[in-house]
Symmetry: C2
Subunit: 312 residues, 2 copies
């Protein structure tokens, strides 16, 4: 089993009401890969510049992430994002973006990355997502993330990319925006009509919802008292979700509904750890026992019994 | 068992992207009472004017709601609210409010209403909530709702009222505003330090969260494809929650955690029916079998298994 992710590798400078950090390791592919690394072998495809040091690669490699497709562009600068959050941490404020080598990114996949059974197309230009999708002919499950920018500026290419994948993972506002349907359940059905059999709507601190032909599933967010930096939470969710699914995958067999639901729970758990500290700090010191403990705790805080009641 | 509710009885004129209605029966006490009436005997305390007809009283009475403390003020006009919703139905836009008899409301409780084991203090002026609380000496469980207006203008009286109740039910933004604590879990703890042992944070379409000394519980919203009018959903949630708790109450015994969780689920179910049509229309044609069916369906769409995983 193996999982390839294509996306950004970045340095993030972030300020929140609880502190700030300069030039942390970040980017969608990094957050995704670290979260998924607890479940399966992950291969990262993405560009970095001269400023990306051995210690940054080592952070990924120490978690078992395969970095042979991390492309170093000589003379280039790694993608840089500076942003901040107010107390409402559902909303990121961007203060500076420097695309650097990410602006000219043309994904190059090694044979092993092309052959992975699962593929995550992180939030990059939709035509590049299509190119990577086409290159990975053997992928049994392909998931795609995107953002409002591409819905606004590259809608046609994005809808084309979506039509070629099995699973769409957007936040709920983006799902509504893409389909021009204000009701989330209807929006998810509209996405399924575009092609994907699986639609995951991420809802920030409120959790996530899963829609398939066989039904729907909703899970609240794991309630935390300490949220320090939400950057990367959505990608950690996706990494936990797909990483778990890859670990449960049986060649040729359809994914069971129960596996998808557990994947939603693992995604939520990884996202909950992500936000407890800045950037990748919490995930980098995370242990597998903590993941299992939190999953059980998550089950406890969401479980309820159904008993007949004396209604009248 | 019996449950008394004090709050507004109103006529609501509402427009949403899915239609509009003039002068529907509404108000917090009405939505609450109708939802709770599926579980227990409910007594409504609130004022109406000359314009409140026998057919409006009958709508409550037909559901078994006791209306002897509905006070008719001669020459007065029933509380009137006109509002509308855009596609984001989490936000109500008020176009007109006429307090009418509600502006001079001084609750008058019959002995039977004072003697109810449970009391819901709907969203009215905090000092009136305190007066009613003091009058109902025998109430074993008292819950209180409020709104941003009272947090802004009557904070001291409101904190006093909260200190005298067992359960606070606010929406999550109001809970944060009241406690000046942006994190919901911390805000709930701050509320518990004011007095209540039970804190329910309503989160609109995203569900609700429950905090007690013994732990926490979170439930997503029931995902619907057809939401026509959210007016009254929070009160229907409260009615389902407290109505169910009253039906489960055993004299002198503490409420079990499992009962509180089921009450959250029933509250969510009643709120989900509330929003399916305008005003009280859906609840008035609701059957008990539909409630039980939806509760089971709700369990199905939120349940997940916990299996050990091969993490590494």
């Amino acid at each position: 089993m193996a999982l390839t992710v294509v996306g950004s590798i970045a340095f993030d400078s972030v300020r929140t009401p609880f502190g700030e950090r300069e030039r942390m390791l970040g980017g969608s592919a990094v957050h995704f890969a670290l979260a998924a690394s607890f479940f399966t072998e992950v291969r990262v495809v993405g560009p970095v510049g001269d400023d990306f040091g051995a210690e940054h690669l080592a952070a990924l490699q120490d978690r078992g992430v395969v970095t042979e497709d991390v492309e170093r562009v000589e003379g280039g600068e790694t993608f840089f994002w500076r942003g901040h959050y107010e107390y409402d941490m559902n909303l990121a404020h961007t203060d500076e973006t420097r695309l650097g080598v990410f602006g000219e990114f043309q994904p190059k996949l090694s044979p092993a990355s092309r052959d992975a059974e699962m593929l995550f197309l992180g939030n990059i230009q939709p035509q590049l997502q299509r190119d990577v999708r086409a290159a990975c002919r053997g992928a049994e499950l392909v998931a795609l993330d995107s953002m409002n920018l591409w819905i606004d500026t590259e809608r046609e290419a994005l809808v084309g990319a979506i039509s070629e994948v099995d699973c769409l993972m957007l936040n709920d506002a983006e799902t509504r925006m893409l389909t021009r349907e204000p009701n989330l359940a209807r929006a998810a059905r509209a996405v399924m009509n575009m092609g994907p059999e699986i639609v995951v709507a991420k809802r920030g601190e409120y959790g996530a919802a899963l829609f398939t032909e066989r039904g729907l599933f909703a899970i609240p967010g794991y309630l935390l008292e300490d949220v320090r930096d939400p950057t990367g939470a959505g990608d950690s969710f996706a990494g936990g979700f797909l990483g778990y699914l890859d670990s449960r995958r049986v060649a040729g067999a359809q994914l069971e509904e129960s596996a998808l639901r557990q994947a939603m729970a693992y995604g939520s758990v990884l996202a909950s750890f992500n936000v407890e500290d800045f950037g990748t700090e919490r995930i980098l010191r995370l242990g597998t026992g903590e993941i299992e403990d939190r999953l059980r705790q998550f089950k406890r805080i969401t479980d309820f019994e159904v008993e007949p009641v004396r209604t009248g």
